[in-house]
């Protein structure tokens, strides 16, 4: 399928995403079907050598509203009891994204729910980054807090390619991102970052298997969680360096900030190294807000609540600063800000306003 999607006019009635920057093209995928096109699942292909700085935004939507029309119903406000009766509304879907040889493209993948139903989405996503290609992907996940979205990513990278992929997970009952990254050639640069903000009874789950098969590749992982209330997070990360993969540089870090006494994180960073000339490190931290910093800020008149927010934003910055588009970064910073302030969960900030 060609990459030249047009803004799908029919899908645009109840909702306009405010995130896109100048020049961004939008694709709506409603309940697994592309709108305004032949209606199949997402199959993107960026042609060989195509380089530009504009962004393509794919908006993945689950809804029980009228087909094709997205209504701006609250995505995070309390669901009605009735919606519980029918059980989860399931969807299995597969998508593929291909970055052709030597192309350089920016992609923004958003996933939302537009009705407060209990959705269960199982998604398989295959991403191929061909020889010399440069892929820049930002994933924004913001669904209602009863929704379950499980994604299995298989990422295949070829010689001399680069990938930067940043996950921002805000709302969602359970969001699970499992990534298997195959570094199939030499001189590959793979950079994965993730920021999860969870409260209530949200469950965030990240699994990364980074496979270094060939020499001279770099991989870098940074996943950060801020967990409040009874939120739970799992991080499972494994870097596997094959015998052949000499001169590998591989790093992995998972840092967690627990705001409440009831939030939990299970973290399991791992290394498996079969080569003997590599630089690898991994680490995980679980911490609380820093009392010295809080007192310092409060002594300047910053209220406790605001000081806690500043600290959480500083923590989140480590991931957000990796977003290469300035406009998108600023937009994400303000989303994270309002998410941390809890402004998202009120009705006036339903889907029409939040993004």
């Amino acid at each position: 399928m060609e990459s030249n999607y047009l803004l799908a006019p029919k899908a645009n009635h109840g909702f306009i995403c405010k995130i896109p920057m100048k020049g961004t093209r939008q694709v709506y995928v409603v309940n697994g079907h592309i709108q305004g096109n032949e209606g199949g699942p997402l199959a993107l292909s960026f042609p060989k050598g195509e380089c530009d700085d504009t962004m393509l935004q794919v908006i993945f939507v689950r809804t029980t509203g009228e087909s094709g029309k997205i209504s701006g119903i609250c995505m995070s406000c309390a669901p009605s009891e009735k919606a519980d009766d029918g059980g989860a509304i399931e969807l299995d879907t597969a998508s593929s994204i291909e970055f052709g040889e030597d192309c350089s493209k920016k992609l923004l993948l958003c996933s939302h729910t537009f009705t407060p139903d209990r959705f269960l989405t199982r998604e398989r996503c295959e991403i191929n980054v061909r020889r010399g290609a440069n892929a820049d992907i930002t994933v924004m996940q913001n669904e209602n807090n009863r929704s379950v979205h499980l994604t299995d990513y298989t990422i295949n990278m070829e010689e001399g390619s680069a990938l930067k992929m940043i996950f921002i997970s805000l709302h969602g009952g359970k969001i699970s991102n499992k990534l298997k990254v195959n570094l199939n050639g030499e001189h590959i640069d793979c950079n994965l970052k993730g920021l999860c903000l969870a409260d209530g009874e949200q469950h965030m789950d990240t699994e990364v298997l980074m496979e270094h098969y060939k020499p001279n590749c770099n991989s870098n992982q940074l996943f950060k969680y801020i967990l409040d209330d009874k939120a739970i997070a799992d991080f499972y990360g494994l870097i596997r360096v094959a015998q052949d993969a000499q001169k590998t540089n591989a790093y992995q870090a998972n840092h967690n900030l627990l705001i409440s006494d009831y939030a939990k994180v299970h973290t399991k960073p791992q290394l498996e190294i079969y080569a003997d000339d590599v630089k690898c490190s991994h680490g995980a931290t679980v911490g609380r807000l820093n009392e010295d910093e809080l007192f310092y800020m409060r002594s300047r008149g910053i209220s406790l609540h605001e000081a806690q927010l500043l600290q959480q934003k500083a923590f989140a910055n480590g991931v957000l600063e990796g977003i290469s588009s300035r406009e998108l970064r600023l937009r994400m910073e303000s989303l994270v800000d309002s998410r941390l302030r809890g402004e998202f969960s009120s009705c006036r900030n339903c889907s029409k306003n939040c993004c």
């Binding site: 007192f295 002594s299 910053i302 500043l310 600290q311």
Partner: protein, 254 residues
Amino acid sequence: MLTINNLHASVGDKEILKGVNLEINPGEVHAIMGPNGSGKSTLSAVIAGRDTYAVTEGSITFEGQDLLKMKPEERSWLGIFLGFQYPTEIPGVSNVNFMKAAINEQRKHKNLPPLGPAEFLKLMRAKMAYVEMDSSFSSRGVNVGFSGGEKKRNEIFQMAMLEPRLAILDETDSGLDVDALRIVGNGVNKLRTKENSMIVITHYERLLDYIVPNFIHVFHDGRIIKTAGRELALDIEKRGYDWIIEESGSKNGK
């Protein structure tokens, strides 16, 4: 302005302040000197509201209000400022965002609207000049990667921004070279008015050449054991503390 009456404070089972009495009037500068570990920094932390210390007895009132009932930020809104001996580093929070948050909360509690970005930057630039701080500091993380001297300058810069009624400077001069001491000393001096007061905690007489105090208190074992005028600092510089401790010990009949 500030009245401390029979103040006792401890950490865990250890009593650190053992009955401090101190009265500070508008416009006065009080220097507190004394050997290491005598409780000077604890006193400043207790005034600012650090909850690591438990106040077991006594009172602190500021302009008639009971300070001990207030949160650290509420004390700041009243006009109390603590210049830290070891300023805290806050990675990820830039100096400019930190100050903006502080200034606008202060204004909120004075029923003033937040400062616009242009006004704020203008104010920030003017106050940075007080302590000859380079403008590049504003975008850096609060105290992150600052040298000892830069951290202390940053404290005085914050003081200049907040214009406190009562500033407590806890060893602001320690670790400063001669030039930095001059810059910090002059910076503080420019902020001195007839209405606001200062408590200057120091080990050295030289800072008091810049910030001339009305009183010098000698702290020992959790209380003030001697109060005198400016000239006491010179005596201490020459003779140390032992003679004062002995003098007070005999007076107390120890």
